[in-house]
């Protein structure tokens, strides 16, 4: 079962998902920036020989539509850069869809495990198990001082980015997120939007990840991130407690109205959906709404996105109004009382 369609998702209302990504490159191949098409295809073949017998599905990104590629971004299986890339590049995905390997992204291999809720250790173990299988068959580029060699020097060392997707409405509402970002950067962590580097935060959802990959062990990095998440959860609770009773009543009103709109609207843009998602989720965290399943609500963070809505519809929904109509139908059905 995928990370976004899982009943266990988000038991505490703040951590939506956890992800660990390992960057690996092969000796005797230039990095993707200088890799010609023949060698890029050969490299995909080398990875395929290991992963397909293990039950991974190969998705050749040179042969799929822009819409299908965008849906993989919305599911967080590939980066937006990978979806837009030219030349041979492929995704290998396992059956529960928690493990994926992007081949020829910024690095030759980006091994990724994504799990629902706060499960960094589990995601790390799963990703490293797969990495060890690949290590037995492939010649990873490594230097005893610099660690795993990566195209961009910012990923040298462990080549690991661990990240947690968090819902932080009270800190956002009270204007603390800039300060949170500054404090996190002091301990080598960074705050980004929902789709990682370069993306804006929507619906009070943020990705917190490690900035530094070298000089710390993978366990150190995970601990640092786990500690930061624990502190952020505390801060979010404190921030919610600071909200005045009058303001709380306004939030209750906004949450209940949002439920009404999500269950009844005929047209719904994704921008409006994100706003309503945040109102409803915050209302649930504050105890105002009890008849909506949080895992169902969170599954919409993927299923109500533009490419997913378009691909999931039986009708032609390529224009914006048709897509908004289809999104509204999906929301009504998913959140029906």
């Amino acid at each position: 079962m995928s990370w976004y369609n899982n009943e266990q998702t988000n038991p505490d209302g703040m951590v939506i998902s956890s992800r660990v990504r390992l960057a690996r490159n092969l000796n005797h191949y230039p990095f993707p920036i200088r890799l010609d098409e023949t060698r890029a295809a050969k490299l995909i073949g080398e990875v395929e020989k290991v992963l397909v017998p293990m039950g991974f599905q190969k998705i050749d990104f040179s042969g799929i539509s822009d819409l299908e590629a965008a849906a993989y971004v919305e599911k967080h299986y590939v980066s937006p850069e990978f979806a837009k890339k030219d030349g041979p590049h492929a995704l290998f995905l396992n059956e529960p869809c928690n493990l994926s390997v992007m081949v020829n992204e910024e690095d030759h291999l980006r091994i990724q495990c994504i799990e629902p809720s706060l499960s960094l250790q589990e995601a790390f173990r799963t990703a490293t198990d797969l990495e060890e299988h690949l290590d037995e068959a492939l010649d990873f580029a490594y230097d005893e001082n610099l660690g795993y060699l990566t195209q961009c020097p910012t990923n040298l060392g462990t080549g690991m980015r661990a990240s947690v997707m968090l819902f932080l409405p009270a800190l956002t509402l009270n204007g603390y997120m800039d300060q949170v970002g500054r404090e996190l950067s002091k301990v080598g962590l960074t705050v980004r939007g929902m789709y990682g580097e370069g993306s804006q935060s929507q619906g009070c959802i943020y990705q917190i990840s490690n900035q530094i990959c070298m000089g710390l062990t993978e366990e150190d990095i995970l601990k640092k991130l786990d500690d930061a998440v624990a502190q952020l959860k505390d801060l979010e609770k404190q921030s919610a407690d600071q909200i005045r009773p009058g303001r709380k009543e306004q939030l209750k009103d906004a949450a209940l109205r949002a439920v009404g709109l999500l269950r009844s609207a005929w047209l719904m843009s994704s921008a409006e959906f994100f706003k309503l998602y945040a109102d409803v989720h915050f209302g649930m965290n504050l105890g105002f709404i009890k008849d909506i399943s949080l895992s169902k609500l969170n599954s919409l963070l993927v299923q109500a996105m533009p490419a997913m809505v378009t691909l999931g519809s039986k009708q032609d929904v390529r224009d914006e109004t048709s897509r908004d109509r289809e999104r509204a139908r999906l929301l009504r059905e998913t959140l029906a009382s």
Binding site: P30, D143, E144, N145, L149, G157, M214, G215, L216, T217
Partner: protein, 180 residues
């Protein structure tokens, strides 16, 4: 490509000289280029990698901008390229990306200050590939034995120290024969 002078080392300095409208090209290794410079036979710029080393001060800001400002000699053009992918420091600075794994060892001296600025250090401490594991275990074991040897000497336990010394010697010999 081999150095045109010694015909042994890989050529890393590519130099063009125009005299009276006639252009001659040279491909030299570092050592021969340095020797020819000292003898006044090569009138190119000083070693570019030395100059770049001092410019890699800021990983995200002026680093790459400043690099582009390095003046080229009016009489010749010098280019140091990675022997595996043909990438030079100019390309690395423009894109912020290395060309291949070998670029890191080849341009290590120039890239090290930038790596330190990004990560705060240049020493990896995490996981290692399977093929490096046995080597690392031996290295760690040797370091531990040396530590124990120092302790034994400090406490005047000479019999133990002699045993440890023999163990260290045997391990070092083993390593030497493995790498030979």
């Amino acid at each position: 490509m081999l150095c045109q002078n010694c015909k042994k080392n890989t050529a890393t300095i590519f130099y063009e000289e125009t005299v009276n409208g006639k252009t001659s090209s040279y491909a030299l290794c570092h050592e021969c280029a340095a020797k020819m410079r000292a003898e006044g036979k090569l009138k190119d710029t000083p070693d570019l990698s030395d100059t770049i080393g001092s410019l890699f001060g800021n990983p995200f800001g002026d680093l790459f901008g400043n690099f582009m400002g390095i003046p080229e000699a009016s009489t010749g053009v010098q280019k140091t390229v990675c022997p595996d992918c043909g990438c030079d420091l100019n390309a690395i600075s423009q894109t912020g990306m290395a060309g291949c794994p070998t670029c890191y060892t080849f341009f290590m001296e120039s890239l090290q200050p930038m790596i330190r600025n990004i990560h705060g250090n240049t020493r990896h401490t995490g996981r290692i590939p399977l093929r490096f594991k046995a080597r690392k275990e031996k290295k760690d074991q040797l370091a531990q034995l040396k530590k124990e040897l120092n302790e034994a000497i400090k406490h005047e336990e000479f019999e133990k120290a002699a045993e440890l010394r023999d163990q260290i010697r045997s391990m070092e010999n083993e390593n030497r024969s493995e790498s030979a």
